[in-house]
């Protein structure tokens, strides 16, 4: 069940009478506007200074739109760092992590909620420990192990830890979604002789599709920004993820803000574009996670 259906069932809390605008309401509306401005301003500023020259950035025209559009900043950012590559790496890592998290958590959820065994509750609690364990606490053993099996400097060095740390959230959300699937369905399938796997693949997996977006969003939020592991486990430039690449690039251009702004923008614009077009779906999936969780 997602919020679209929620909306239908429960009309928004709004009285039919036209509410009188009180001073309090106006004040709170003003706060909403100001906060929107504060949320947007850094991004606006980044986009404008990414197109300015130093003279404009450093005094002539700090917050206005650029007077001369210095596209050269973008070519410089592209040429020095390897922004498209970093972006691609981040996407590869994020997508793989999401896939692994999805499969592992839906399978585990099925075993814990639809199959009947003694320790299912305990196992669930065990997995939920993952919600509070700080990812960074395992850095040294992970590092030495990855080194020993020659997996440093590979996508797996990030995908595996990220998946493991996204698992708890994935299971938490999946449990909520799976609870909505009527038990009659898998019983019927069971009686038809489908067996456990048949039921899972034919009934449960297709009906869990709505969970995909939600688990995807939460996993994405966990791994897209991760800096510590990405910084330590990956040293090859061609495998660096976006956060590490941007950080390294900023270190090289401390005094030249234009190219940094361009690099930051390149790192941000694709995500923003996706968000602008899919903001409702993204928010709804996020909301669904909160409701299920």
């Amino acid at each position: 069940m997602n919020t679209a259906t929620l909306d239908k069932k429960y009309p928004p809390v709004r009285s039919n009478k036209k509410p009188k605008k009180t001073a309090g309401q106006i004040a709170s509306y003003v706060v909403l506007v100001i906060w929107a401005f504060i949320s947007l301003f850094p991004v606006y500023w980044m986009l404008t200074f990414s197109l300015k020259n130093n003279a404009e950035i450093f005094g002539e025209n700090v917050i206005g739109l650029p007077k001369y559009w210095v596209w050269e900043n973008y070519t410089r950012a592209m040429n020095t760092g390897n922004m498209p590559q970093y972006f691609l790496n981040s996407v590869i890592v994020a997508v793989s992590t999401i896939l692994i998290t999805l499969v592992a958590s839906i399978m585990a959820t099925y075993a814990m909620t639809r199959l009947d065994w003694k320790l299912s509750k305990t196992t669930h609690k065990f997995f939920m420990l993952g919600l509070t364990i700080p990812i960074h606490a395992s850095i040294v053993p992970l590092y030495t192990t990855l080194a020993r099996v020659h997996m440093l400097n590979s996508y797996w060095a990030l995908i595996i830890p990220y998946s493991a740390f996204s698992l708890a959230m994935g299971i938490l959300i999946s449990v909520g979604f799976m609870g909505d699937i009527p038990y009659d369905l898998d019983e019927a399938c069971f009686i038809d002789g489908c067996g456990v796997w048949g039921t899972f693949i034919r009934i449960i997996a297709p009906l869990m599709m709505p969970a995909v977006a939600t688990v995807g969003i939460y996993t994405f939020l966990q791994c897209w920004n991760e800096l510590m592991f990405a910084n330590v486990f990956i040293s090859k430039d061609s495998l660096k993820t976006l956060p590490v690449g941007v950080q390294a690039l900023s270190g090289q251009y401390t005094t030249d803000w234009g190219p940094i702004g361009a690099a930051l923008s390149i790192a941000t614009i694709p995500t923003l574009l996706v968000y602008v077009f899919l903001s409702k779906q993204i928010q709804d999936s996020f909301i669904a996670g909160a409701v299920k969780g």
Partner: protein, 411 residues
């Protein structure tokens, strides 16, 4: 089916045999900090090209990493012993020592002989442990006091102040004239040490400072206290850029080049940058002595930039040869470009900038040369040491606490 397998197997054998014959083609991995923004970058590119031209069967794959990130990267690789390069850039003393202790670095004693004439033994002291040499030094750096002579002229100085009193007088006049005497990054602790260490060495003398780093002499002495007191006094009097805490070293250097400071004290690796970009008269000198019993040319710095070869390297002979070859090339190239001072015998006829000449002059006059503290000490001690400098800068501790604290915590 079996036939097919047999054919495949034979094919495989032939292939391996052929590749074994052609196997002379070797690739060596080289890690360094010579990123594109580094002044040694071009030297690396040229040296590798020259080496590859001389050795057609060897290819060098160069991976530069930004300074701070490099430290993490090389330590991480060393600790796991995996994914190590064949040749790597390193600093001398404490930094390299951990790797040597772990047995990850090749001893070069058997190979040094061939180069002894061009590379004086004295240059290798910072990479020699228990009498064994583990690295090939190529350039040395000295803490240099860069002065914007145009600004100094405004307050009536036509030379870099030669005594401490003169320096204070000059700074007072600069402050009174609304100029910032010194540019420094308070954000990067090593930059602060570029100011603290000259004060210390010019107060206690080089030999004592060395003994202090080695733990043979106490840090808690009058000289250290006087040096830190002077440092804090300079800060209190507003001699340093008030924005220092918000600036990185690159920004500070750019500010100096833009003419915003009278002085900038940092390593001689800035010679090329400052020499080529500054649009004012610039001179290189050294900070005056604090203690009249100490001679002026007590220098902080020394042979430092080094190449070393890893023990895990597959083609040791080739890698070692490459390390010496590249080091010699860098030494020469960095000297000519003004990026740094050479460890190897320099071409006496080379045309170099005035800044490089003054730096070379100071190096030749040096009565004593003590390496940068954060290079001299081991990683843990070095960071403790830098922390103390940071605290002294922030005014969190008194000079006495600084001296006592280092004495207690460093050993």
């Amino acid at each position: 089916m079996k036939k097919l397998l047999a054919i495949l197997l034979t094919a495989l054998f032939v292939l391996t045999a052929v590749s074994a014959l052609a196997e002379e083609q070797i690739t060596l991995q080289l890690w360094s900090i010579a990123t594109e923004s580094d002044s040694s970058h071009q030297a690396y590119v040229d040296a590798i090209a020259a080496f590859e031209a001389d050795h057609p069967n060897i290819k060098i794959e160069h991976t530069p990493t930004e300074n701070e990130a490099y430290k993490t990267k090389i330590k991480a690789a060393m600790s796991s012993g995996e994914e190590l390069p064949d040749i790597f850039f390193t600093w001398g003393m404490g930094f390299l020592k951990d790797f040597v202790d772990a047995g990850r670095v090749v001893c070069l004693d058997d190979y040094y002989g061939a180069y002894a004439e061009e590379l004086p033994q004295a240059m290798a002291t910072n990479v020699t442990y228990d009498g064994k040499m583990f690295g090939v030094p190529y350039t040395m750096s000295l803490v240099t006091l860069y002065a914007n002579m145009d600004i100094l002229a405004e307050v009536g100085y036509d030379h870099i102040p030669a005594t401490y009193e003169e320096m204070m007088d000059c700074c007072d006049k600069l402050v009174a004239a609304g100029k910032i005497p010194f540019g420094v990054s308070g954000k990067e602790l090593w930059c602060l040490s570029e100011y603290v260490e000259p004060l210390v060495i010019k107060s206690v003398g080089g030999e004592t400072l060395k003994a202090m780093y080695n733990g043979e002499e106490s840090w808690n002495n009058e000289g250290v206290i006087a040096a830190i007191a002077a440092f804090q006094e300079m800060k209190a009097k507003g001699y340093f850029d008030p924005s220092a805490d918000g600036l990185g070293n690159d920004e500070v250097k750019n500010n100096f080049i833009a003419g915003n400071y009278a002085f900038y004290q940092n390593g001689s690796w800035n010679n090329a940058d400052i020499g080529s970009k500054a649009e004012f008269a610039v001179q290189a000198g050294t900070f005056p002595v604090l203690n009249p019993d100490v001679t002026l040319y007590q220098m902080i710095g020394g042979p430092n930039n080094t190449l070393a070869v890893t023990e895990s390297c597959e083609h040791k002979e080739e890698a070692i040869e490459a390390a010496f070859y590249l080091a010699k090339f860098f030494s020469d190239a960095d000297y000519k470009s003004g990026a740094n001072l050479p460890c190897w015998a320099a071409d006496p006829n080379a045309e170099v900038s005035d800044l490089v000449k003054s730096a070379a002059d100071m190096a030749s006059k040096a009565d004593s040369m003590v390496l940068f503290g954060d290079n001299f000490l081991s990683a843990d001690a070095a960071n403790t040491y830098l922390d103390y400098i940071g605290q002294a800068w922030a005014g969190d501790i008194t000079p006495e606490e600084y001296a006592e604290g280092l004495d207690a915590d460093l050993h």
